[in-house]
Each structure stands twice: as C-alpha cells, then as structure tokens.
Symmetry: C2
Subunit: 204 residues, 2 copies
DNA sequence: GCCTGTGAAGCTATTCACAGCT
DNA sequence: AGCTGTGAATAGCTTCACAGGC
C-alpha cells in the first residue's frame, strides 16, 4: 500500500498536472514538478515510482498519462460520496469550494440541526435535517463524512456518521474524535496550524 | 529547537489542558492526555520533556503548570499579530473562529479588494482595502499572514505580505507559494485532505 | 504498583548518488 | 548531456523498556 504522505503529495501533483494540461503542456520533468509542489526532485520520482508509472529520460513524464495513472491509484472507479455535517461559516466555505469540482468525489448531502438551514439547497448541495443522517447516508451510498460542527457536538456527530456506515472522516472540529479502528480520520486543526506558524515565524 | 511535529502536539495538549483546567482537574497522567490527544503515552512524555517540564510520578503533570510551561515555549511574550487576506466564505469562517479567543495571537486586520467588504468591521475585525496592506501591517506590527484568497491571487498576496515584513504565512490556497527561506509557510490543503480520507476510507 | 524520564532500538521518510537510457 | 529509476545511506520520529521515585 502507498504510504500516507505519498498519497497527499500525489493529490498535489495531480492538481499541478491538471493545470499544466490545461495550459497545453505535454511533458514535465521531476525537477519542474518538484518546484511547483515544493518538494525535492528525488521525492517526486519516488512518489511516481510508488504508483508504478514510468517516465522517459528524454521527455520526463507524460502529463496526461501521469494524471491517469494517479487517478488509477487514488480514485474509486465507482466514485465516492461525501456528507458534510454542520452548515456554519466553515461548512458553507467548503461546500462552495467543492461545488461541482470533482464528480468522482462530491459532497452530495449536507446536514444541520437548524430548521433555517435544512430542507433547502445551499451552494448546490441539498441540506437535510440531521435526524435523517442515517437514512440519507445509506440511501445515497455515502462513505465519507466531513465534520464542521462546533467542538461540543463533534463526537456525537462522529458517532452518528460511524453508525451510518461511513468509513472515513475529515474532522475540522478542534477535538480528537474517538472512532473504531476501521474508520480513517484526518484532522484539520486550524488553531494548531496557526500556533505552529506563529512559533516558526519567530524562530527563523 | 523543538521539532515541527512536537510544536503541533504541544498546541493540542494545551487546548486539552485548558479544558481540563476549566473542569477543575488539577493533575493528569501521560496516558490520559495520550487518549485525549490521540497519541501514545510515550509520545506525550517525550514532548513534555522537550520543553523542560517535569511531572511527578505520583500525581502526573500539574495541569496549570504544564499550560504555563507550554505557553512559555510556544508564545511570544509580547504577543503576535495576524493579518488575514481574503474575506470570502473561508476568511469569514476563520475570523469567526478566532474572534476574541486568544489575546496573544489575534487576527487584528483583514484585507480584501472588494469595496463592499473593506472599511468596515467583520466579525469584530477591521477590514481594510488590500492596497493599504503594507501600511497597516507595519503600523500594527503584524508578523503573520493568513491567505484565504482564490488560487490565482495567492502568490501575489504572498509577495505583498513578504514585502510588508511578515515572517510566517498560513496558506489556505491550493497552490504552493514561493517565499524567501526566512519566511515559514504552513499549507492547509483541503482538497488534498479530502482525497487522502477518500483513499484510506477505501483501503481499510 | 504505577508513575515519570530517557537511552537505545526500531521505523518511516527523505535524500544521495550513480548506473542505465536516449 | 541530462534525465529517470533505485539501492544504499541518512535523517527524523516514535516506541520500547526499564531505572528511579514515591
């Protein structure tokens, strides 16, 4: 299996490659990709090696082929559905951001407990009463949840998502949620990130 | 110097400790902190060791003392000022989130190029015309920038922040920005995070 | 007995450096 | 000449395991 860190970088390479493709670039060398991704050329070559794609010493990597090869490793051929729970400021930002961007990995349902928010369409995404989570998750075949609720409700929401059968969670709430081992959690901790920047801004 | 990863975890420990403090907890053991932070007890002990704080084999760590000790390592005694550039959905979410939370590390100015947004107060934060970035950053002694503008403007904004003298950048735009070596950048890449979750949700 | 602090071991991730290709 | 692919070396991070303390 491809390691954690490599998966993240492949996702970054793909985004860069898609931009290059739209600019009409046909081939790219590891050192060029490296600059754009902010890593070393050796790292790029190793990562690409790990998905079994091979470049050509003369032309480098074929932009189009590499995009496809990364997709083959990262994407589910059938697509994966995402649910977002918590339609506050952050939730809306994320809905806007992902709206219609990626058909293979789309936020197909949002949930909230506020009647002013559910039963309408927000940023192109249908918003449901959170009480219907179980039902909707199963109906739409959702396997991934994004938690953008306030701290105090995060664990409750995580439990509900797990109960509904979700296998991966993207957690924006500033608490570590407890889930069974077969559920993957990725935390995005904004406070932590800012404090880290603050620390290293001083130490450089 | 304390390593990158440790800084991040210290920030997490501190948040947990503050919650414990508010609940009246006086002491805590490494294994308790470990569960709440989602790491191993040995890791907790190492991290705490790295800031030179010592616990007591009988009572564990003093909650209050440890908070202070972490603060002593992470925080600038004079405080650090943050500027946020880009008052869109995400920018507003972040302003709301940090509003009045941490006096030592506060977002003291927001910037945008949209006249509908600048020259007013948003979420308790004064919003300025982006053309005044240089002036305001220097006047308020800002040393940290958060970039929440669309992809295409991120590099331009980064350049402006660096020119104004900022030493750390929290970048939410999905591009690697190029900055001088003495500026620290932390990227928060939501697309990457979601794709990672999608991948590992399938592979578990 | 159960904790902390920590040297040493073990792992994982990254980079080096060069053979092989075109 | 300048690239890729990759074994080997290195660096960085985490866990083990146990001495020392109460």
């Amino acid at each position: 299996m491809i390691p954690d860190k490599t998966i993240g970088r492949l996702s970054i390479y793909r985004r860069i490659l898609n931009r290059l493709l739209s600019e009409g670039v046909k081939n790219v060398f590891s050192h060029q990709l490296a600059v754009m991704a902010g890593v070393t050329p050796a790292q790029v070559r190793r990562d690409i090696m790990s998905i079994g794609y091979s470049g050509n010493p003369n032309r480098g990597y074929g932009v189009n082929d590499l995009i496809e090869s990364i997709g083959h490793s990262l994407d589910d051929p059938l697509g994966q559905q995402v649910a977002l729970v918590g339609v506050g400021n952050l939730g809306r930002a994320i809905l806007t951001y992902f709206s219609g961007r990626r058909p293979r990995l789309a936020i197909v349902a949002a949930f909230d407990n506020d009647p002013k928010k559910f039963d309408r369409v927000i940023q192109g995404c249908r918003c449901y009463n959170i009480e219907r989570l179980d039902e909707v998750v199963q109906e739409l075949g959702i396997t991934i949840g994004a938690i953008t609720v306030p701290l105090g409700e995060a664990q409750k929401v995580a439990n509900a998502l797990v109960r509904a059968g979700v296998k991966g969670i993207l957690n924006y709430a500033p608490v570590r949620i407890q889930v069974p081992l077969n559920v993957y959690v990725e935390d995005i901790d904004m406070t932590m990130a800012l404090e880290k920047v603050a620390y290293f801004a001083r130490k450089k």
